[in-house]
């Protein structure tokens, strides 16, 4: 499949287009995800439909720059309406998004029926905007996408610091005298551009996933905005290329869904396996902590029992320790682990006692947990003083 990337002209065009759109939407999606405006992309991409249809009706041209212009105008209009309605009335953001999405799309459907009635109706290419058809990309489309994408990246580089503040603390930006409304406006325009260049390949319905997916995946690997931005761009491009290749080699499956599934796989991998934040790491950490705490509990139990006798290495039955331990996990595994560490020693068949190192460790634990705390002089420590 990969050699086709270098030999087949069509596939190379398609893959390049998908890579550009994945890259741009992934990178700009970073800001949307951080600003908790992930679903704005969904509303904008649906709202673009009437713009696309209207642009075609007015110009009878299916050149992607014309359709993108129409899509961009309506996408920006929808964004502006959503933001102003949420800021001026008590309508919530999600409600405004839902209304914008369905109403604009509905209006687009109305326009579509008008268009279908025209004698020169040749709207075949327009339906690809619903679900996307990367195979329909030609090199002029790719050039348009590349130019728009490059412009978006240059503007982002220019406004990097402002975008960073807008993503994390817009109020702080305002106090610094930055014109945050203007900055957010620029960000919105770029966001609309990213959506617009993806619509033809991915389609209206699924475009939002291409904005959110790469950014959400990238977020798991880093806490630095710049790194997240670059990672999201790479993941987006990778999803785009993989999806475009699978879809254009033989199977004739629609491109959009495959790209979205690729992005979904990246998200799943990131959620599960990203270092530190990932779920696997979290489970491992929780299991380790649990194991350590259970071990310490058994050690302290043994110490508490022994402290009622004349010497700290006085042996006790495993059954007694079991009773004192967590009812499900018991004490057997903790005891073996403690034995491996030389903190307890087996005495006979069923009895256990603290070693010298074990006593020292108990002292350390008690000091660590209760030093200066409310428990000082309390029960656990008092036992030691009594004996």
């Amino acid at each position: 499949m990969l050699e086709l990337l270098f030999t087949d002209y069509t596939i190379r065009t398609v893959a390049l287009g998908a890579a550009i759109l994945g890259c741009v939407s992934g990178a700009l999606g970073t800001f949307a995800v951080l600003r908790e405006q992930s679903l704005l992309g969904d509303a904008v991409s649906h709202a673009a439909l009437p713009g696309i249809v209207l642009a075609y009706m007015l110009t009878s041209s299916k050149a992607s720059i014309v359709l993108m212009l129409g899509a961009g105008v309506f996408g920006a209009l929808a964004t502006g309406l959503v933001l102003s309605v949420t800021s001026q009335t008590r309508i919530k953001f999600d409600t405004a998004l839902g209304i914008a999405l369905s109403v604009f799309f509905g209006f687009g459907l109305v326009l579509l029926t008008f268009m279908q009635k025209r004698p020169d109706a040749n709207q075949a290419g327009l339906e690809t905007f619903l679900f996307g058809q990367a195979a329909a990309l030609v090199s002029s489309d790719v050039i348009t996408m590349a130019v728009i994408g490059l412009c978006a990246m240059i503007v982002t580089a220019f406004f990097w610091k402002e975008f960073k503040i807008a993503s994390f603390d817009p109020d702080f930006g305002k106090t610094l005298g930055l014109r945050m409304n203007f900055v957010q406006g620029v960000l919105m325009v770029l966001f609309v551009l990213a959506i617009v260049i993806g619509l033809e390949a991915v389609g209206v319905v699924l475009m939002s996933a291409l904005l959110i997916g790469p950014a959400a995946a990238a977020r798991q690997w880093t806490d630095r905005l710049s790194l997240m931005f670059v990672l999201a761009a790479i993941i987006g491009a990778a999803s785009g290329v993989t999806g475009a290749l699978i879809s254009s080699t033989g199977s004739a499956l629609p491109t959009g869904p495959i790209i979205v599934l690729c992005a979904g796989v990246f998200v799943a991998i990131s959620l599960l396996f990203a270092p530190r934040r990932g779920l696997t790491w979290r489970w491992l950490r929780e299991w380790r902590n649990g194991h350590r705490l259970r071990m310490e509990a058994v050690l302290l139990d043994l110490y508490a029992l022994a402290s009622q006798h004349e010497r700290p290495d006085y042996p006790h039955e495993a059954a007694v320790l079991d009773l004192m331990a967590h009812p499900i996990t018991g004490s057997a595994r903790s005891l073996t682990a403690l034995e491996d560490r030389g903190l307890v020693a087996r005495v006979g068949e069923t009895q256990w006692s603290l070693t010298q190192a074990g006593v020292a460790r108990v002292d350390a634990i008690v000091a660590d947990r209760f030093e200066g705390g409310a428990m000082h002089g309390g029960k656990s420590v008092a036992i030691r003083h009594d004996t």
Binding site: I91, F107, V110, S208, A209, L261
Partner: protein
């Protein structure tokens, strides 16, 4: 009106009413986009159920779709509960993935049957009257009408039965939990209703109109009232209104019925946003302007009182001086003085301003003397 036209409107009205009821709770719980997610994500459920039973009009398809709808809710919540991604991002990730699975299943295995993905989005209300439910030779009307009336009835019964619980769980989930009302169970039942409603409706009107009917009319209600019960009534009323007006616009223009209905929802919402008493844009603008003048008049009164009877009074309390002292534009200062004179707070003695009794009261009401 032909019987078909009446039946199309009845179906649309049933859909609008059935959608508005759970929609009210969706927007109050800030989960409006869940309707969008569910109405898209039911696609793989329908496709898989179709593969299992092999026929397009089996009730199992509705069951499959409802399961997929609930799966969406569960998936979104389990992803956002890891706190690795925010809830909105989780919604935006889950439904496109599920929808993609549905589209691909159709493209791969069912390319030749009538399970058109366009129809999922747009629906075809005009065909509703031709798919009739007949039991033992008796015609019960269009199938989608019967389905939607049933679903609407179930929604109404559920909401009426658990009205108090839903209300509390919506506005104060913590208190509902502490009183033992199980808000989580209610939440999932509500989501199940949303799923079933979306499933029943999308066959007739498409998922976009489902979203429009679920969010639009309740949003209008939210702007018009503070009472849950009134909001519910307004939502249903506005839903019916947009369904019927949308139908006639579509009829007049010979355009997509679902599209016209969604547009009608949009027009109703815009009108409501503009003119809603107290909360609409017009009243907000009017209130802001009123407050601006009232505040300026108070400032003027305070300023005049501050210098009243003091040596600098002759210099400070002149209309021309306000520009400098209060940093007002000349035009604005003149308007404030004119308004203050009209309201009887100030007397303008050829450019020298002094407070009336009412003006002195206004100033001392506003600032407590040191």
């Amino acid at each position: 009106m032909t019987p078909e036209q009446i039946e199309i409107q009845l179906v649309a009205c049933a859909v609008a009413a059935a959608c508005a009821m759970p929609g009210v709770f969706l927007i109050l719980r800030k989960m409006a986009m869940m309707s969008d997610a569910i109405s898209h994500a039911i696609l793989p459920g329908i496709v898989l159920a179709f593969f299992a039973v092999g026929e397009l009009h089996s009730p199992w398809l509705i069951a499959g779709a409802a399961v997929a709808g609930l799966a969406t809710v569960v998936l979104v919540e389990s992803i956002s509960s890891t706190r690795l991604v925010k809830e909105d991002a989780a919604i935006g990730l889950v439904f496109p993935v599920l929808f993609s699975v549905g589209v691909l299943l159709i493209a791969k295995f069912a390319g030749d049957i009538h399970l058109d993905t366009d129809a999922v989005l747009t629906g075809e209300l005009a065909f509703a009257p031709f798919d009739r439910l007949t039991i033992g030779g008796v015609d019960f009307g269009p199938k989608s009408l019967v389905t939607m009336l049933t679903i609407g009835f179930v929604n109404a019964v559920f909401i009426a039965t658990f009205y108090k619980e839903l209300k509390l769980a919506t506005f104060d989930a913590g208190m509902a939990a502490s009183l033992g009302f199980a808000p989580v169970v209610l939440h999932y039942v509500l989501m199940a209703l949303v799923s079933i409603t979306a499933v029943g409706a999308f066959d007739a009107v498409g998922s976009i109109l489902v979203v429009a009917f679920m969010i639009g009319p309740p949003a209008c209600g939210y702007l018009l009232t503070d009472r849950l019960s009134t909001m519910m009534l307004i939502s249903v009323g506005f839903g019916l209104l947009s369904a019927i007006s949308g139908y006639w616009v579509a009829h007049a223009l010979d355009a997509s019925i679902a599209g016209c209905m969604a547009s009608a929802v949009g027009v109703l919402f815009l009108v409501t946003v503009a003119v809603a008493p107290g909360r609409g844009l017009l009243s907000v603008v009017r209130r802001q302007s009123r407050q601006r003048w009232a505040f300026a008049e108070k400032m003027l009164a305070i300023h005049l009182k501050q210098h009243e009877g003091l040596p600098e009074e002759a210099r400070e309390n002149r209309a021309a001086h306000l520009q400098e002292h209060l940093r007002w534009e000349a035009e604005f200062a003149r308007s404030v003085v004119r308004r203050a004179v009209e309201d009887g707070f100030v007397e303008d003695d050829a450019g020298f301003l002094h407070l009336t009794k009412a003006g002195r009261v206004l100033a001392s009401e506003t600032v407590v003397d040191a």
